[in-house]
């Protein structure tokens, strides 16, 4: 099943007023910890998971994820290792998994080869923050060909016109960056944010995921009714570092 229908179906079921997507950096602190964290997440009702393939130049990420990328690479994670791990994970869990990474990882691997392998593995979507539509001609063609959803990003700086343009290229859902800046800092959910969300809704028919700085039940509650998917990123990385893998389950369970 394609990502878009998976999401639409889940939202249509009506038992969840908002879906949860979590994020993790592959190989950080280790694939083994990733494996256990993912199990906790799935068991506790996470709906989608984005797995970040580390890159040495994570331009759009904040300090915590930057460090995670770097340490994972230093510890020897490879793209090959990420793909093999993803194959195992998608086989073990029924929810949709996405790859989040920077374009060079695909480019150097061979973009089509990467798509082909991702489809085999059962990956549902790609989030590539440094690949705007203008640079994505080949990428979008391959997305169609291999049926992997390119998830594009809205930013608070995006104009309505630009949102419609992005929406036209995006599949599955839209990732709305909740604020300017990089991952990892808390977001102020205020009037301005609400107006931004309204703008997003008005300019796409796709479901809206909201990420950047979502870390508490209050945040998720606030987003409920405004967005379709709440994205938890940096928070779980910090949680695992501070309280261990076992803390992830209760945390996720408590979010909704």
């Amino acid at each position: 099943m394609e990502l878009s229908s998976q999401i639409t179906t889940a939202l249509a079921r009506g038992d969840k007023k908002i879906l949860l997507m979590t994020h993790l950096v592959l190989g950080y602190p280790s694939l083994d910890v990733n494996r256990r964290v993912i199990a906790q997440m799935v068991e506790n009702g996470v709906d989608l998971i984005e797995m970040q393939i580390p890159f040495s130049e994570p331009m759009a990420d904040g300090p915590v994820i930057v460090r995670a990328n770097q340490e994972a690479i230093e510890k020897g994670i490879t793209v090959r290792g990420c793909l093999d791990f993803a194959r195992e994970i998608t086989g073990a869990h029924g929810i949709p998994f996405l790859f989040m990474t920077y374009y060079n990882i695909l480019f150097k691997f061979g973009v089509e080869k990467f798509f082909r392998e991702a489809r085999e593995i059962g990956i549902k979507g790609f989030i590539i923050p440094d690949l705007p539509p203008e640079e994505g001609e080949e990428f979008f063609a391959l997305s169609e060909k291999y049926g992997i959803a390119p998830v594009l990003i809205f930013a608070p700086t995006s104009t309505p016109e630009r949102m419609r343009e992005l929406s036209g290229c995006s599949r599955g859902f839209i990732y709305c960056a909740a604020r300017k800046g990089v991952t990892g800092r808390q977001t102020d959910f205020d009037e301005e944010f609400d107006a931004y969300m309204r703008r997003c809704r008005e300019n796409t028919a796709l479901p809206l995921a909201v990420g950047f700085g979502i870390s508490r039940k209050e945040d998720v509650d606030y987003l409920t009714g405004k967005a379709d998917i709440a994205v938890i990123g940096t928070k779980t990385i910090n949680l695992v570092a501070e309280q261990g893998v076992e803390a992830v389950g209760p945390f996720i369970a408590g979010l909704r």
């Binding site: 759009a60 060079n104 480019f107 150097k108 930013a155 700086t157 992005l166 960056a177």
Partner: protein, 409 residues
């Protein structure tokens, strides 16, 4: 391919969505400026009254005699205010920032040269200024940090990645995506997402415009070859643009050969076999990366050449065969520096000395009635800590030892 911002297959603008509007506005402002002759005039006048343009073209008679071949001319970017060609780009972008009505500038810096230049421009234009600099570089290049701070800039040590130039670029982007409304990112070289390569090349073209006229006036004809060191490639693009149209002028870019091209410790993206195509830091070019696309650690005695990427414009000119690439090792650089000081009383920056190395290798092959130009991108006296260390100068060490003790070591 003929997409805007592309040079052959290289270039582009691989930017996060949050910067889309910023780049749209930047492209518009830049295109307006480029189309407005008054802008270039204002730029030239600023560089003529605040910096020392036109910088001279010096006939190095002693070196020419020494090698017994081509007449060697040196384009003296070292005489710019702040001591390098970096001033050209920075002052140009400063004018653009003023036009755009922004009030804050940020920049990355490796050696510190671009940081000092940006801090200087910010002081002159009254902008707030933050400079990102790898923690390693902050420690190695403390004199430049001192001046940046004294010029009123905030210097932020970058602790991620290899803690050097490429990481400072990432960090500057992270600042920019947070504060794009009042902030302009003053990219220091002909790299990064479009329109930066085009913009920096345009401002730096002042070098080549001057040099083309000067060599005609002083030598009476075209040079046979033009040499420039290539870090990001801005000084090289600057001087090359004066001669690109004349296929008889051979253009030679010189990269950092570090400890040798076979040592793995170098920063030669094009002259070595270690570079490969990639997309990072917002643009597509030849990078020094591993088979997974992770950027590698690079090495050079010259901090300003110690970078994983290279100008997409130069990558294209290289692919086309219009610019030939060579590499100079750290040892060759020290020898060329020594010779240039003793023969001409001129102290090239370690970066610039790379261009001298290759020119010295080839000058003797040419006839005495031919000329070559070496672009001297900057002055070396800013590098005393590195140069004195590299020469292993005992009195310098003793001096620093004593100063260290005075400060409690």
């Amino acid at each position: 391919m003929n997409r805007p911002g592309y040079y052959g297959e290289w270039g582009g603008a691989f930017i996060p969505e949050v910067l889309y509007e910023t780049f749209r506005a930047l492209n518009a402002a830049f295109n307006r400026a480029k189309a407005d002759p008054a802008f270039w005039q204002e730029y030239v006048s600023l560089m003529g009254t605040y910096s020392c343009r036109p910088t001279p073209l010096t006939h190095a008679e002693n070196l020419s005699r020494h090698f017994g071949g081509a007449q060697i001319f040196i384009k003296r970017e070292d005489l710019n205010h702040t001591g390098a060609h970096k001033a050209n780009n920075v002052m140009g972008q400063g004018l653009l920032v003023k036009r755009m009505g922004k009030t804050r500038v940020i920049a990355e810096t490796g050696a510190g040269q671009h940081g000092v230049a940006t801090a200087t421009m910010a002081a002159k234009f009254g902008f707030a200024c933050t400079i990102y600099m790898g923690e390693e570089d902050v420690m190695r290049q403390r004199p430049n940090v001192f001046w940046m701070e004294k010029l009123g800039a905030t210097v932020v040590p970058v602790t991620s990645g290899s803690k050097t130039l490429k990481d400072a670029i990432n960090e500057a982007f992270r600042d920019w995506v947070t504060r794009m409304d009042d902030t302009h990112y003053v990219m220091g070289t002909v790299c990064g997402p479009h329109p930066f390569p085009e913009m920096v090349a345009w401002f730096q073209s002042i070098i080549g415009r001057e040099a083309a006229k000067q060599i005609r006036d002083q030598f009476g004809g075209q040079p046979s070859r033009v040499y420039a060191c290539v870090g990001g490639g801005s000084n090289a693009m600057g001087v090359f643009q004066g001669f690109l149209d004349d296929p008889k002028v051979e253009l030679v870019g010189v990269e950092a050969g570090g400890k040798g091209l076979d040592s793995g410790m170098h920063a030669s993206r094009l002259a070595s076999r270690d570079g490969s195509a990639g997309v990072a830091q917002g643009y597509k070019t030849m990078f020094l990366q591993n088979s997974d696309g992770q950027m590698m650690d690079t090495h050079s005695v010259a901090a300003g050449l110690d970078y994983v990427g290279v100008s997409p414009i130069l990558a294209d000119l290289w692919r086309q065969g219009r610019v030939r690439f060579a590499a100079a090792t750290d040892d060759e650089v020290m020898a060329a520096l020594d010779l240039t000081m003793k023969k001409e009383g001129i102290i090239p920056a370690l970066e610039s000395a790379h261009a001298f190395v290759q020119a010295f290798k080839e000058a003797g092959e040419l006839r005495r009635d031919e000329a070559i130009i070496i672009n001297m991108s900057g002055r070396g006296d800013k590098d005393i800590f590195t140069i004195a260390h590299a020469f292993n100068d005992p009195s310098w060490k003793e001096f620093i030892r004593k100063k260290g003790i005075e400060y409690g070591a």
